[in-house]
């Protein structure tokens, strides 16, 4: 009996690996290999402009980055952008979720409205969004937008308005996803818990702080992580769309610029990898919240 069971178990394990193959193959070709290439290249002076063979330069590219004040400026802007968009998306999204948690007349309509910014394909809404905020000259609203642009650029430096528009776009789209995601989280919480809380405390704030937030913690953490990843994707999309017209220094776009226009693959790879340890740290912190070790059942 035990022999049969263990034979079944090892068959299960073989099947499991077989079923994992497509996913792993996809990740290997489109993620693992490119990352490996970037890591290796970041340690060399690879460039299509070089005549001599590519040399291994060790941590030279990284050393030069650390010494570059422009890098630190870009890093600060990137981290600030990610933190700010994330915090606002979380706040607005949580607001949406709480608003939609209780039944009321017309809830379906409001729910669909909240779902819309995320469902509306960002690949094209970003086109509409960008050209609305920086419109071509002859439209009826271009004067207003133009004034806004010059005011913001005047205050924060050239390119600030374009960067602000990406930030707004990411918040608009991301808060919709976070809202729907947290609504799913609230639905997963047994209603008895909220009823108990209602008996325990009259203060809505205390119920929110000591019941809703702790119960939602895993969902909040997952939402933070997913919205971080889209923050970078949106930035890259807009940058690409406007052919680099966002002149604000941000790590991802700056790396792309170095690689494609400067032909400096080595430094560009080093630059684009600088964010990874940071994100890895964030992920580890969040893992503790949404995948706690003690909750594991076998």
């Amino acid at each position: 009996m035990t022999a049969a069971r263990s034979a079944g178990r090892s068959r299960d394990i073989r099947l499991a690996y077989l079923l994992l193959t497509p996913t792993l193959l996809l990740l290997l070709t489109t993620l693992a290999y490119p990352i490996g290439w970037e890591v290796w290249t970041s340690l060399t002076d690879l460039s299509p402009l070089n005549d001599r063979p590519t040399a291994f330069v060790g941590a030279e590219n990284y050393r030069r980055l650390v010494a570059d004040p422009l890098f630190w400026r870009a890093a600060i802007i990137t981290v600030a952008y990610a933190t700010l968009t994330c915090a606002v998306k979380l706040a607005v999204g949580l607001g949406f979720a709480l608003l939609l948690a209780r039944p009321f007349r017309g809830r379906t309509l409001v729910f669909l409205a909240v779902f819309l910014p995320w469902a509306y394909p960002a690949s094209v809404s970003v086109i509409g969004w960008y050209w609305t905020l920086s419109p071509p000259i002859p439209t009826a609203y271009s004067v207003f937008m133009g004034n806004l642009k010059y005011t913001v650029d005047g205050l924060l430096g050239s390119g600030a308005w374009a960067f602000t528009s990406v930030t707004l776009f990411n918040i608009w789209r991301g808060s919709s996803f976070v809202g729907v995601f947290l609504l799913a989280g609230i639905n997963a919480i047994p209603p008895e818990l909220f009823e108990c809380a209602l008996l325990e405390s009259k203060s809505a704030w205390r119920r929110f702080r000591f019941v809703t937030v702790p119960l939602l913690k895993p969902f909040l953490a997952l939402a933070v992580f997913l919205s971080l990843t889209t923050a970078f994707a949106d930035l890259a999309n807009v940058w690409m769309l406007t052919a680099g017209r966002i002149v604000y220094p941000v790590i991802g776009t700056h790396a792309y610029w170095l690689a494609i226009h400067g032909g400096q693959f080595g430094p560009a790879s080093a630059l684009s990898l600088t964010l990874v340890p940071l994100l890895l740290g964030v992920l580890f912190l969040l893992f503790r919240m949404f995948d706690p070790p003690e909750a594991r059942r076998t």
Binding site: I13, L15, A16, Y17, L18, L19, L20, P22, T23, L26, L27, T29, T30, L31, Y33, P34, I35, L109, F111, L112, A113, F115, P117, W118, A119, Y120, P121, S123, V124, S125, G128, W129, W131, T132, P135, P136, P138, T139, A140, W172, V180, F181, A184, G185, N187, A188, P218, L226, A233, A236, N237, M240, L241, Y256, L279, L280, L283, D291, A295, R297
Partner: protein, 290 residues
Amino acid sequence: MSRRPWWRGLGHRALLVIATVYCVFPIYFMLVQSLKTPEEDVFGNPFIVVSPTLENFQELFGREGEVRGFVGSALRRSYPFLDWLVNTLVVFAGSVMATLVASVAAGYALGRLRPPGFQWWRRAIFATYIVPQTILFIPLYQVVSVLELDDNMLALLLIYPTMALPFCVWMLSGYFQQLPREIEDAALIEGASRAGAFFRIVLPMSRPVLVAAGIFTLGIVASDFMIASVFLLTPHNQTITAGLGTFDVALDELAAVAGVNLLAIPVVTISAVFARGFVRGLTASMVEGA
């Protein structure tokens, strides 16, 4: 429970209105622009359309090989919009299917068959999200050229699934993990094969989660602009996204906005139809603490 005072009810309603306007207004604005004539675009009120017209939409389809327009006709190119539409459908549908198949297989393997260290597999796959794919272009380009998929929609079918897979695998493996084992065991005792039990019982039961994974993937695939415009260069091979990116918006603003809406309408319709299922599926996949 006591009745809520009238001002709280009013406050609630006001918040609902604000939320709805905030979410819908940018989309409404784009829709209005796409229905305008060039004259109205310049002189009219930007928030409303007085005499709506479909000419911007017609222009997208009517452009094939025909040179028209009054602002420097040489500058106005023709766009194979029908080709773009077909390519987009193929890429979107293909990516969603590929992602679902791969993530259901991986999710079942990790959630139910549980090879040694499955929790770490699960975490490692999810952790691949920390690398934004958009910074990996040059090596991705090498992969695509080695496979000879350059300027081919298949390149997108290779890259897109990876953008949604980590979360879909996470979701599905979590779901399969908490699905009671007895459901499957009962079928196995009745003499069904493992595959039979899976396809006839487990898969139909998992519909909400599959819907959630599918809509999530559609959202991710539909939001990429960068990959599409880097890997698809010839007009006939482009998707709507890549194609619209080449519009000179100063001249073709209205047609571009019309194109935006043309892609958005089917995607939004599909998402709206499955919106409730999306929430249900997300809930179902995470009932047990993520």
